[in-house]
């Protein structure tokens, strides 16, 4: 069993503030079924702009549930500018610490809060934006996210990065890149990855053919392993319209699959400006 503190176990056994606020002022959703944990955070502000109520729903292990419960307790009563300064370490500290391998649960909380606040400010449903290059393809973690956990938590090893944001926890191909990011953030000799070669302008025909090839080679085999499939419906400028089939079509992680897997692969192998959309069938 994990070495959970009594406070973690208390919040796991008796989670506070479970649910969804129907007319919320901010909504943040992070994670997915595929990742193994997901959190939906909603909050309501009072007239002075403080968080009057916060509720959560979490799919995940004991520490994911406890971290979410703790987060809602922590931010209640906080003005937004203070809430947005809450770090994942604050959540872990509130719980009396988390096992190193479970620190990603606290990061999940911080990310949901960040998205909920962004949603409140922009009025738009905030997505976990893929800011920067995707480094870990297994768990869809970007360079920016890795930089942030390294900076916030003063991480020094790939293993720690995996514990905090899952990056590097799958096939392991990205370990050298994570090492470079750690070195860069920690101010050691920064090793810049080689600059990408300039991309020549692409004809439409060539673009469509490349998209098809990439779907066939990079994406379809992985989806078929989970009993799913993907079909290319149309290409309109830089918009790629696809339909998920089989198990994928009713998978709750479908949005994750489209953005974090399909889109990032197509951007890698075709052109970096592509936007993937689901066919509105």
């Amino acid at each position: 069993m994990w070495d959970y503190t009594d406070k973690v176990l208390d919040h796991f056994r008796h989670p506070r503030n479970v649910g969804v606020i129907p007319d919320a002022d901010g909504v943040g959703e992070v994670g997915s079924m595929a990742c193994g944990d997901a959190l939906k955070l909603t909050f309501k502000l009072d007239t002075r702009g403080r968080i009057a109520d916060a509720r959560f729903q979490t799919f995940g292990c004991a520490s994911a549930i406890a971290s979410s419960s703790a987060l809602t307790e922590m931010i209640k009563g906080m003005p937004l500018d203070k809430a947005e300064k809450v770090t994942n370490q604050d959540i872990a500290d509130y719980l009396g610490g988390l096992p190193e391998q479970k620190m990603h649960c606290s990061v999940l909380g911080r990310e949901a809060l960040e998205l909920a606040i962004r949603n409140h400010r922009t009025g738009r449903k905030a997505e976990k934006k893929l800011e920067g290059r995707v480094v870990c393809r297994c768990f869809g973690v970007t360079e920016n996210e890795i930089e942030q956990v390294v900076r916030d938590n003063k991480l020094a090893t790939v293993e720690q990065v995996t514990n905090y944001c899952k990056a590097g926890g799958g096939c392991g191909n990205c370990h050298p890149e994570i090492e470079q990011i750690i070195a860069r953030v920690r101010g050691a000799s920064p090793q810049e990855p080689p600059a990408p070669a300039p991309v020549p302008p692409m004809t439409n025909i060539r673009r469509i053919r490349l998209i098809e090839e990439t779907l066939e080679r990079e994406i379809r085999p992985a989806l078929q392993k989970d009993g799913g499939d993907i079909e290319l419906i149309d290409v309109n400028g830089n918009r790629v319209i696809v339909a998920l089939r089989g198990m994928c079509s009713n998978c709750q992680g479908a949005h994750f699959t489209l953005k974090d897997v399909v889109e990032s692969k197509l951007r890698e192998f075709v052109t970096p400006d592509l936007v993937v959309e689901a066919n509105p069938s």
Partner: protein, 385 residues
């Protein structure tokens, strides 16, 4: 709070009769069986008695039983020993759902240049025997396929597999750690060359195992440095645990009918009860070919570790193949090899019973678990309202 232990594929309670049988070998008969004096030498006959008890459970000749320290050592000895004996041209065939003791050993050898085929399984966790035939067509190999899967309880058709393997002039190893003592095994009728078993899965202590080596099977020792076990394994024999394993095998023979009837009936009661009491539950594996004591559920929309912790609060012990419990970030390799979608893969719970379980144990689970599932779903963003 009563301890309701339903995790017998992880380890089992040591049978009181087994404890009783082995204790004198700590207190009174603690000599070395290789000694040239009566005090040590008298232990030889106890070793040989235990060897015949183990042999009897699986239909082997006593001379074909090698004592080891655990199931993992048995698997390592079988695979590495047979590959080394085969010399140049050795090949390996195994499956994607083997226990790490087999899978990691095979992958280790692959990194050292031994060609390896890992057979896929279907959604029920079963092999495609044509794929095995195809893999064997490339030439003779050591085939290592488990008798029964530890996570799902799925039983491979070992007799049919061994016939195919033997017809191809290949060597057949089976990791039978989960099936010895739970289902009848006859190595002669089943044409198996090498078979691994483990003491602590059948009510003997941890730290003792055995490997069946059919007469004439070429195998090199894993542990060098001693004449013990006819030169097949160096190291002074663990006499108390060997005696314990012998006794446990004798008890397993006597209780075989109970395993396949009363224990199976308890398992079925648990399975039917939970399917009735909880919506959105699936059974993983092959219900028609399964160990009598094992059931593997997927509780949709929730995660395995949180279910285990809540059950543990009620004194119920089970296990899960979810990412959070597998020690990695991804669900178990068995569940993934079966192509089970993430929605179900993260919420797997395995119950594995033994002859020490009662109807009351099962009924407690049927009473305690459905509210836990409902409560965790109330917390989950994926559960339908």
């Amino acid at each position: 709070m009563k301890n309701i232990y339903l995790d017998n594929n992880a380890t089992t309670r040591v049978a009181p009769e087994v404890v009783e049988a082995m204790m004198p070998f700590f207190t009174d008969y603690w000599g070395n069986p290789s000694s040239m004096h009566r005090f040590g030498g008298q232990l030889k006959k106890h070793l040989e008695h235990a060897r015949s008890q183990v042999a009897a459970l699986i239909g082997a000749d006593p001379s074909e039983i090698l004592f080891t320290s655990c199931g993992t050592e048995s698997d390592n000895t079988a695979i590495r020993g047979a590959v080394e004996a085969a010399g140049a041209g050795a090949r390996l065939i195994t499956s994607r759902v083997e226990h790490p003791a087999v899978l990691e050993t095979c992958r280790y050898l692959k990194r050292h240049g031994i060609p390896l085929v890992e057979l896929e399984v279907n959604g029920r966790g079963q092999l495609d025997l044509d794929a095995l035939r195809k893999a064997l067509a490339a030439g003779p190999a050591l085939v290592s396929l488990m008798w029964a899967n530890n996570e799902t309880g799925v039983i491979f058709p070992i007799r049919e597999i061994a016939e195919i393997v033997k017809a191809a002039g290949s060597v057949m190893h089976t990791d039978a750690v989960q099936s010895v003592g739970k289902v009848p095994i006859d190595v002669k009728a089943d044409s198996v060359d090498l078979l691994s078993l483990s003491g602590h899965k059948l009510h003997a202590p941890k730290g003792i195992g055995a490997l069946y080596i059919r007469k004439g099977t070429k195998i090199h020792p894993l542990l060098l440095g001693g004449h013990q076990e006819s030169g097949r394994r160096g190291g002074t024999e663990n006499v108390p645990y060997i005696v314990a394993l012998g006794k446990a095998c004798e008890l397993a023979s006597a209780n075989m009918r109970e395993e396949t009837t009363r224990v199976a009936a308890l398992r079925n009661r648990l399975e039917e009860g939970l399917l009735k009491a909880c919506p959105d539950v699936k059974i993983n594996g092959d219900p028609d070919h399964r160990l009598p004591n094992t059931v593997n559920f997927s509780f949709l929309y929730i995660e395995g570790e949180s279910i285990l912790y809540r059950m543990s609060d009620c004194g119920i012990a089970a296990s899960s193949g979810s990412a959070c419990t597998s020690g990695s970030l991804e669900p178990s390799h068995v569940i993934r090899a079966m192509g089970i979608p993430f929605m179900a893969a993260h919420g797997t719970i395995r119950f594995s019973l033994s002859r020490y379980n009662t109807k009351e144990d099962v009924d407690t689970v049927l009473e305690q678990l459905p509210p836990i599932i409902a409560d965790l779903r109330r917390i989950s963003p994926f559960a339908p309202p």
